[in-house]
Structures are given as C-alpha cells and as structure tokens.
C-alpha cells in the first residue's frame, strides 16, 4: 500500500479508534490517568472546533470569490457578503465584540434582518395552512383537530373561549405527542450508539472524505 494511502486512510482510523475507546472508557473506568488523557483529548476538540470555524470561513470566501471573479449571476451579492464578512471580522478582532458600535451593528442590522426572514414564515405558514389543510380523510382530520387544540392551548384566547380547552390541548401534548416523541428520541439514541460503534471500529468512513481510489 502506498505511503500516501496509508496516511489518508489508516492513520485517521487509528486516531479515531484510540480516541473513541479512550472517551468511552472514561465513562466506565474510574482511573485518574485515563480520565486525564480523556480530558486532554476533549480540550483539544475545543481548539480544533475553533480552527474549523476558520476553515469554514476560508471555504465560504473561496466559493464566493470564485462567483465574483467569474461574474456569475448575482455576483454583487457575493461581493457584498465578502465585504461585510471582512469588515465585521476585522472590526470584531480589533475592537472586540464588546465594542458598542460592533454591538450596535449586530443588534440593529444582523438581528432584525435574520428575525424578519424568519418572521416571514408566519405569513407563509398561515397561507399554506389555509390552502392545504383539507379534511379529506380521517388522518387529515386527526391532524387538523390536534393542531387546533395545541394552538388553542398555547394562546391565552384558548382559555378565554373555554376554560377546559388548555387541558384538552395539554392532553394532546402529554400523551399522543409524547408517545411519538419518546419513540423518536429512543430511536435516535440507538442510532447514535450504532454509528458511534461503527465509527470507532472503522466501518463508518464518510468523515475521512476519501476519493474513489483511496477507498479501495
């Protein structure tokens, strides 16, 4: 096997196996050296995650810059993104995020824009509900009634209309909803354990981002 292939595939698999076993063992074995090693490994992740933010920014800039350079449709939006990213990053690093002007821009530009985009959902959800929620069969009927009861439970108007309405909506949340949610949560937990074991044992390799040749 060529050395480059070993580096790309085997070394990360060995590191994953060792760190995975170390972290899992830390939960079950009360051994100071082992716990110290696990703690160190976990604090490395904080540093690596910090670098990952930097890599994310570089990737984003590369993609955006390519669109500006090749003058693709709407390239000025990409140029605007690069400019604002550069300005806020440099400003944040020099003046720190505690700077009142930095904070002012964040709370008076970023937050309102983000919240407005999210707030538009209220209009689309209302329109979609009116246009598509039809009592075509029993399933749709159950969903409609459950949705109405939970909505009435969540708003003060529900209790004002009929004092028992919040209790009925609460029953929908506490029983049918919880039964399904708990099933989903348990299913996810089992799935996470399965993926974890597969990753530690080297069966799950998607995170290595190997090319077709390297996978062989």
């Amino acid at each position: 096997m060529p050395a480059s292939k070993t580096l790309a595939r085997e070394v990360p698999l060995i590191i994953t196996f060792l760190l995975g076993v170390l972290t899992v063992a830390d939960y079950g074995v009360q051994e100071p050296t082992l716990q110290g090693l696990s703690s160190t490994a976990q604090s490395w992740v904080v540093v690596i995650a910090g670098f990952a933010v930097g890599i994310g920014v570089i990737n984003l800039l590369r993609g955006q810059w390519y669109r500006v350079k090749t003058r693709q449709k709407g390239w000025y939006n990409n140029a605007l993104l690069i400019t604002t990213l550069a300005l806020t990053s440099v400003w944040g690093i020099i003046a720190t995020t505690k700077d009142p002007t930095y904070s002012y821009v964040y709370f008076n530009l970023t937050v309102p824009l983000t919240v407005t985009v999210f707030g538009m959902l209220a209009f689309y959800i209302a329109s979609a509900a009116v246009r598509s929620l039809r009592l075509r069969n029993i399933d749709a009927g159950i969903m409609l009634v459950a949705a109405a009861l939970v909505m009435l439970r969540n708003i003060p108007a529900g209790a004002a209309i009929w004092s028992s309405l919040p209790a009925i909506g609460g029953w929908v949340l506490d029983y049918p909803n919880l039964a399904a949610q708990r099933g989903i949560v348990i299913g996810i937990a089992i799935g996470v354990v399965a993926v974890g074991v597969r990753t530690i044992l080297g069966y799950e390799r998607g995170y290595l981002a190997l090319s077709g040749e390297e996978k062989k």
Binding site: Q42, V53, K98, Y106, T114, N154, P156
Partner: protein, 264 residues
C-alpha cells in the same frame, strides 16, 4: 375561482399589528413547566451556584431574549451565585452581554457572585470537558480576566458544584442532558422556542428536567411570575389573535371545499 394568497398576508399582518397597537390584555395562565423553572430558581438555598446559558440563535431572539431577560432578572435577585457560559452558538456572547448591559448585576459583584466565561465552540465535547473539569476548557473569562482571579471560580471545579443548570436554547437539549444532567444528577431546566417545546416535554415528563419554557408563551408567563411584564407579555395578544385567525380561516376554507364538492 383562484384565491389570492395576498389577502391572507394582509389579514395576518393586521392580526399581528392591531393587537400590538391596541392590546386586549387576555389573562395568561401559568403552566406547570414554567412554574417548575421559576420554583427551581426561587427555592435555591442561599449560596447555591446556578449555571445560566443564554445560548440561542439570532432567529430565536423574539422568543428567547425576553425569557432569558426574565430568568436573569430573577436569578440576580436571589442570594445565589451565577456562572454564565455558552456552547451552542456564536450569537450567545452578544446576547449575554446585551442583557448584562441592560440590567446590570443588581446587588451582585462581578467575579464574586457572577461571572461570564464566554463561548466555547464544539457543543457536546466542550460541554463534557467543562462538566468534568472546568479548567480544562476555561482559563480566562469573557473579558479576558484569568479565572484564578475570580473568587467565584474557586468554588467551581466541575458540574458537580452546580445546584441548578439553566439553558436557553434553540433546541440543543441532548448534549446537556447527556453530559451534565445524567452523569452528575444536576437539576436542569430549559427555555426554548415553541417548535422545540414538544420535544422538550419528553425530558420534563421523564423527570430529567424540572422546568421548560415554551417560546413567547413561556416568556410571557415568566415575565408575569417575576412581576415584570415586557415584550413577551405584550406579544401574547398578537399571537392569540393571529392563531385564532388561522384556525377560523382553515375551518372556513374547509367549509368552502365541502360546499363546492357537494355542488359537483
């Protein structure tokens, strides 16, 4: 005849706007999940240490900022110490600083009764490391002061030193439950957005968390509990009228659908 969606947009705009301009003042009942968090903070013995994570995305600000503000107001009024940090979002330090700037520390002294440690990227792993050994993740606070110079941090070595752990989150329950509540058996409570509330109920009903705030409704209830009505309580009328409109419009659309089907 094709129905123009823009009429619905206009109606939603009016049902949101009018109650904000002319509040109706519908009474807001306190739900057990909200009462649970309030009581958990209120009943903390003097000298307790509470973790407070104001850890949500900017999109959740209308729901989570009012509830975070209300919980912070209650916490600083109690004879307890507060450690603030965040692990989920980069927005967190700005929201935490904003709340601190607007409300201050009350009678508490920074470093002795309250600290803000800042943001640690990576979510679950730093939470696990912080819970096990705070110093493995934190060396300075959010303002650059070494934690060895903060008297409160001498009392905080690991998650086991906290009496209550409260997080305002856009839905990241599991990492905290898995890495803090379960191994250290810490009392825990969450504030979250309405869409994430049904999932959080799983952990409330199982007894893993003692309280759960439900979006704007939860924030409004909390504002009333601490006798400090704010933007959430003010927004409840708008939410009531808008949701009632949606229910009535859906019923109306179905009535129209059936009458047309009958004619055919």
């Amino acid at each position: 005849m094709k129905f123009d969606s823009r009429w619905i947009y206009v109606a939603v705009f009016l049902t949101i706007g009018i109650p904000i301009l002319a509040p109706i003042g519908l009474p807001v009942l306190i739900t057990p999940t909200t009462r649970g968090m309030f009581d958990a903070i209120q009943n903390l013995p003097s000298g307790s240490i509470m973790y407070l994570g104001i850890d949500f995305l900017a999109v959740s600000q209308p729901e989570l900022l009012p509830m975070s503000t209300a919980v912070y107001k209650q916490a600083i009024s109690r004879p307890i110490s507060i450690v603030m940090a965040c692990f989920s979002t980069t927005d967190c330090p700005l929201f935490t600083q904003r709340i601190i700037q607007q409300i201050g520390y009350g009678s508490k002294k920074y470093g002795e009764d309250i600290v803000f440690l800042g943001y640690f990227p990576g979510l679950e792993t730093p939470i696990a490391a912080f819970a096990k050994d705070v110093r493995s993740v934190v060396s300075v606070d959010a303002f650059g002061t070494p934690i060895s110079q903060l008297a409160l941090m001498n009392r905080v070595k690991s998650a086991a030193d906290f009496n209550l752990w409260v997080v305002m989150t856009s839905g990241d329950y599991v990492p905290y439950l898995r890495q803090v509540q379960s191994p250290y058996h810490i009392k825990m409570a969450f504030g979250t957005s309405s869409p994430e509330y049904p999932t959080g109920l799983v952990y409330y009903q199982s007894g893993q968390i003692v309280g759960l705030l439900n979006g704007l409704r939860g924030a409004a209830e909390y504002e009333l509990l601490i006798h400090s009505p704010g933007s959430a309580a003010g927004g409840m009328d708008a939410q009531s009228v808008t949701q009632l409109f949606i229910i009535v419009a859906v019923i109306g659309a179905n009535a129209l659908y059936f009458s047309r089907r009958k004619k055919k």
